[in-house]
Symmetry: C2
Subunit: 151 residues, 2 copies
Amino acid sequence: MKLSTKGRYGLRALIDLAQYSTEAPVSITSISARQDLSERYLEQLMSMMKKAGLVKSVRGAGGGYVLAKDMAEISVGDVLRALEGSLEPVECAGLEPDGGCKAADYCVTKYVWQRINDSISQTVDEIRLDQLVEESRRKQCAGMDRTACKN
Amino acid sequence: MKLSTKGRYGLRALIDLAQYSTEAPVSITSISARQDLSERYLEQLMSMMKKAGLVKSVRGAGGGYVLAKDMAEISVGDVLRALEGSLEPVECAGLEPDGGCKAADYCVTKYVWQRINDSISQTVDEIRLDQLVEESRRKQCAGMDRTACKN
DNA sequence: AGTAAATCCTAGTAAATTACTAGGAGATAA
DNA sequence: TTATCTCCTAGTAATTTACTAGGATTTACT
C-alpha cells in the first residue's frame, strides 16, 4: 500500500510548478534542480500529467510547463491518479455498475476494499493544489533541503 | 497503492477461520480448499498472523488454527498490518513524535500523506471481524465460486 | 541561418519486490 | 507407528519500479 516515486515526486513537482509558473512557463530543468529530482524521470512524470490534462506545455527555448487549469480546480486525487493509475487498493474495489466482479454479491471482502477505496478517494479529492501552495508559502519551504527527504 | 495477495488472501482466510473454528481448530488444508489458495503460501500468511497475535495454533494431527481473541476484538487494520506491514502510503506518513523526518516542518506533502494515512487507518480500524463474519453468513458466501475471484 | 534551450517519444535495464514453490524437521492424535 | 498437522528456511520465476539513454522536434534569440 505504498505510493511509488511517481506519485510522490510528481505531486512535489506540481506544487513547485504551481508556485513558480505564475508568469512564465517553468522548465523541467529548474523544477528538478529545486526539488532534487532526475530531469529525465521528471520529464516522464510531466508527460503523464499533461496527458491527464493537469498541465500544458510550451515547446522550444524559454518553454516549459504551466498549469492547465486553476490551482483550486486540481485535487491531489487528480494528480495521484494521473501518476499512479487507479488508487483502488484492489482491482475490484471500484463502483463499476456492471463491469465489476461477478462474485460481488457473494463477496465479503469487496465491502472492505470498497470502504478503503472510498475513504482514500474522499481525502485525496478534497485536498486541492491551492491549499498546498499556500501552505508551502506559509512554511517557507523554499529553504528546505530537498536532498534530505525523498517524499 | 495496491494491496498485495498477502493482505487479500489473508483477510479471506481469517474470515473463513472465524466461521469454521467455533468448535475445533481449522487446518490450513481445509481453509485453502474452501478458499482456493495455495497451502504452502497460506501457511506463511497464518504464521504472520500468529506472530501478530491474531491466531493461535494447535500442532499435530487434528490440529490447526483458532482465533487468539474474540472476533469483535480483531479489526481489518490488525489483519492488514500483520500481513502488509505498515499501511502508510509513504514511509514518513506516520505520526512518530520525533523519529520522523527532519524536514517535516518544511514538508508540504507530508500533510497529504498523513491525511491519507489517517483516513485509511480509521476505516480499517473500525471494521471488525465479527461484522464480516455476520455479513458472510447473511450473503451465504459458502456457495461462492472462489476460483472466479482472487480478492 | 545557426545555436542553445526546451519538450517529446521510445527503449532499455538494474534492482527490488511479489508470489509463490520446495524440502524437511518437529508435534500429536489415533 | 503412522498419518496429519504446524513450523521454518531457502530458493526462484515473474513482475514492477525507478530510472537511464538516445535522439527527434520545436522555438527564441542573435
